[in-house]
Symmetry: C2
């Protein structure tokens, strides 16, 4: 079971030097937030994308652009905000420079694979790695889309591993609390099952509809007449392909299971349509719409 | 082919007496808009739902609540805003009181079935019936959700039939133009094919995901952790079950065809997932996201 959101008063936390590895939407938003809340004294950005690093510097999400060799050794906190498949390689690069007092946090959308990667890369130092997943983001990506209040009143799921000390977990929890997030703790397995349904599957379904219209013979006509419902339904299809490729592969077992359940429901609807069974369709739609309108999402 | 949106200057049009049959979201919004733009001198509401009629009167979308017997005979315009399956019965009730100078417009989301129903109900008077579909609405329904600017800058598709006179079609076109809508004309067949893809199918897909989560063992946990992507994806699942039952049945041939195409894409994604084919997934996601981000929706 998950815990209730933690809104207990936690002591303020601050880090002297924070190294952001990856400064896309999430990384750069964290930079802005940590600076704004005075949680980080200095912020150094590292990453593959020079344009994102330049953008992050330009908007003030980082104070400087650094390197693993120079900046990991005296970092108090390292935040990894990269597509989840890159986690292991990044951590392998971090390890030679890692000091015992440094904490590492990720922000990936899948947790079982990230924890497995961290164990492989960090070995006995894996206790320094605290897995986190802020439920924030959106279809826009890249540093220029960053917002300093991206995590305010949003959920953050922490999936501590047994190697984490309470002190380490508490510091990470305090960080998110100071950003105004609602903190939940659960196991990585439970995390991955829940988000397969409420996040990963809808992304696949939304991408699929976009593909269908895009590849239709009369695509331009269809796009011209698509309205607000289509816009909302496909908003998440604007998300980063690389990030969602990684999430899909990392959590494929859970996603396939959810896709099976979805397929069953879709098959029931198809049969009802074929048989012009208005009664069954209305029953299904009614249950869905009542549920949607009662949900405080 | 569809015409470009008509933004030509059309003469102002006004109607002495407008009878609104059905005063849900669309009917009541039309009432507010017609009154606000002084297109209707007097507005009378008729319908099954006393609570909607009361609400429409309360918000000023109609001036009074009337009856077919009393109010059809001197109406200049009758607007039918009911679930599409009710169209034929409504028109059969209208016919005995219908004067030759009265125009009738519907606002249904499907057009082939509505035109067939109008032909059956009105016979040789079908030329008085101008089929229309404003692409507006939303998940909220009922008169209390009405907005007088619901049609401003929104698309309205007209599907004139050969029995319509130019004078009749022009008057309806002028009405929508005065409400600030962008008017498109196309055949009913083309209309129904386009909206099966960009509207009807996404509604079914969204209802299906809501059903899946609602019926999950850990539904409350899943709803607690669902974020902005899920909220947008499922917004249209809050729509009126009765209306969407009717649309689904009325346009089932087109929807089934679109569901087949969708299924093919979903099957390709499933196979890519099963085979951990990240390259193919990324290719699909990239095409979809580029297309979504380039769409001026």
């Amino acid at each position: 079971m998950t815990s209730s959101p933690s809104k207990t008063l936690v002591a303020n936390v601050a880090f002297n030097k924070v190294v952001l590895i990856g400064v896309g939407l999430i990384g750069a938003s964290l930079g802005l937030a940590l600076k704004n809340k005075k949680i980080a004294q200095s912020l150094v950005g590292c990453g593959r994308s020079q344009s994102n690093l330049d953008a992050a510097l330009h908007i003030g999400a980082i104070d400087s652009i650094g390197s693993f060799e120079k900046d990991i050794c005296d970092a108090d906190l390292i935040i990894i905000s990269v597509p989840v498949s890159k986690t292991q390689k990044i951590l392998e690069g971090v390890l030679p420079h890692l000091q015992p007092s440094t904490l590492i946090m990720d922000v990936g959308s899948t947790k079982s694979d990230v924890i497995a990667a961290a164990k492989l890369a960090l070995g006995e130092k894996v206790g320094q790695f605290i897995p986190a997943h802020p439920i924030a983001g959106g279809a826009k990506h890249g540093a220029f889309a960053a917002q300093e209040d991206l995590f305010l009143d949003r959920q953050v799921v922490l999936c501590p591993i047994q190697e984490n000390t309470k002190v380490a977990t508490d510091r990470i929890e305090a960080l998110w609390a100071q950003l105004g997030s609602n903190i939940y703790k659960m196991s990585a397995v439970q995390h991955d099952a829940i988000f397969a349904t409420v996040s990963h599957l809808p992304h696949l379904l939304s991408y699929a509809l976009m593909l269908q219209v895009t590849n239709a013979e009369d695509a331009s006509l269809k796009f011209r007449h698509a309205g607000a419902g289509f816009r909302d339904f496909t908003r998440i299809a604007g998300s980063s392909p690389e990030m969602w490729r990684d999430i899909s592969i990392a959590n494929r077992a859970s996603i396939l299971k959810e896709l099976d359940s979805y397929q069953q429901i879709l098959d029931r609807m198809r049969t009802a349509l074929q048989e012009s069974d208005g009664e069954l369709l209305e029953k299904m739609f009614t249950q869905a719409s009542l549920s949607r309108n009662n949900w405080e999402g």
